[in-house]
Symmetry: C2
Subunit: 217 residues, 2 copies
DNA sequence: GATTGTGAAGAGCTTCACAGCT
DNA sequence: AGCTGTGAAGCTCTTCACAATC
């Protein structure tokens, strides 16, 4: 009996991990993989893996495991990876350019439809196959492209304004690289990627390890 | 009575947020800030803020709040931000170069001591004030610089090897940008930053929102 | 009156353990 | 024998609520 009331956030995060493992085994599509094996590859306990996968109903066969190909398809569908997500980028500085060039995005179904920059000197230049557009064109271009995802890679001071522009243009989710908490209306999702936060987190954990006699898990 | 048994990971993550708010108020160093205000700025409930801050003992004054300057100092110390962290970068592709140029790292106490690349054609070039070194020099340079943090910005296939080299050289923490789960000995901390994971997460949340009649928090 | 610090309740996530299937 | 699916137990983090303090 399916357990798909609602997929929790922790479960969603782990789904990405499982997906990565399955992706690396597409060549063995007909083979089976056990929850134990999936767990070992992702650092997740086997019982947890089974609980997570139970969201889709009973895909596994006792004594055997999960069909790689079948599970891969189900997971892709559940995570929304069975479609192409039109995506736009705002901010073509160092980070923005690196993101545009990042090869895995396209492979995973994220397709950049446009790139924007406030700097008039950047507008018109081509990077990674896109011509940088001015902010004035944002709303029209986004609507026309029906992009649902926006990446914000602008300085902190500009992030809030840009976020509002994206929302007004109909964007449904923002991947935010600016070190700022965005206030967005309900119905618009945000995921933050903050390099400084990440480094601080690391420094914090190093201190934990050094401070303790016993190492903290 | 202090509650500093052990600072949990969720608490640690929020500390970064508080720190950011306090940082933006250094000009009002003598003023006070309440848990409610700190919470509003960071999206955290006030009771949670107080619980988190109670780790340092009783810094707050009932009816008033927390001294901005005092709290800032305590937090910086607790998060290990009262020192300079010597840091090295491996991989000087698009992402690596963007990280080296990221201005906030230096501001927050992270100091790049060296950059390495496997590509012989890159070695010797200067980026952001550093001369790219070959991998052969990694161990010696890292030991000499006494760097504790390593950033991995290399292709997935190379990440595990690089991680091992960093650990052998005495690194205590790794910020990993490669989409790979690193297996490291106890005592070495890892924080992963995976752009594709983040985007997948976002796509997943957008789907949640669209699927539901009621919006999920 | 405003705000802290905190015990207790609540919610959510993880792990255990085992019946049941192949 | 091996493995799944899952109820129940265990654990951790969050929220509530209020006495104590300024």
């Amino acid at each position: 009996m399916p357990n798909s009331d609602r997929i929790s956030k922790p479960t969603g995060r782990r789904m990405s991990l499982y997906l990565r493992v399955l992706h690396s085994r597409i060549d063995q599509a007909n083979a089976a993989i056990s929850s134990k094996e999936l767990g070992a590859q992702t650092g997740v306990k086997d019982a947890q893996v089974r609980k997570d996968l139970a969201c889709f109903g009973s895909l596994g066969r006792p004594g055997v495991g999960y069909g790689v190909s079948e599970l891969h398809n189900q997971l892709r569908k559940a995570m929304g990876m069975d479609q192409t997500w039109k995506t736009v980028l705002v901010g073509t500085g160092n980070i923005g350019r690196a993101l545009l060039a990042y090869p895995r995005f396209r492979n995973e179904g994220f397709d950049f439809a446009a790139a924007f920059d406030q700097d008039k000197k950047a507008v018109g230049k081509r990077i990674s196959g896109l011509t940088i557009q001015s902010m004035d064109e944002l709303k029209r271009t986004v609507k026309k492209s029906s992009a649902l995802i926006g990446l914000i890679a602008v300085p902190p001071a500009a992030a809030a304004t840009v976020a509002q522009m994206l929302v007004d243009a109909g964007i449904r989710g923002i991947l935010n690289f600016a070190p700022v908490r965005l206030h967005l209306p309900q119905g618009v999702a945000v995921v933050n990627v903050d390099f400084t936060d990440a480094l601080e987190q690391l420094a914090f954990e190093i201190r934990l390890v050094k401070a303790d006699v016993k190492v903290v898990k």
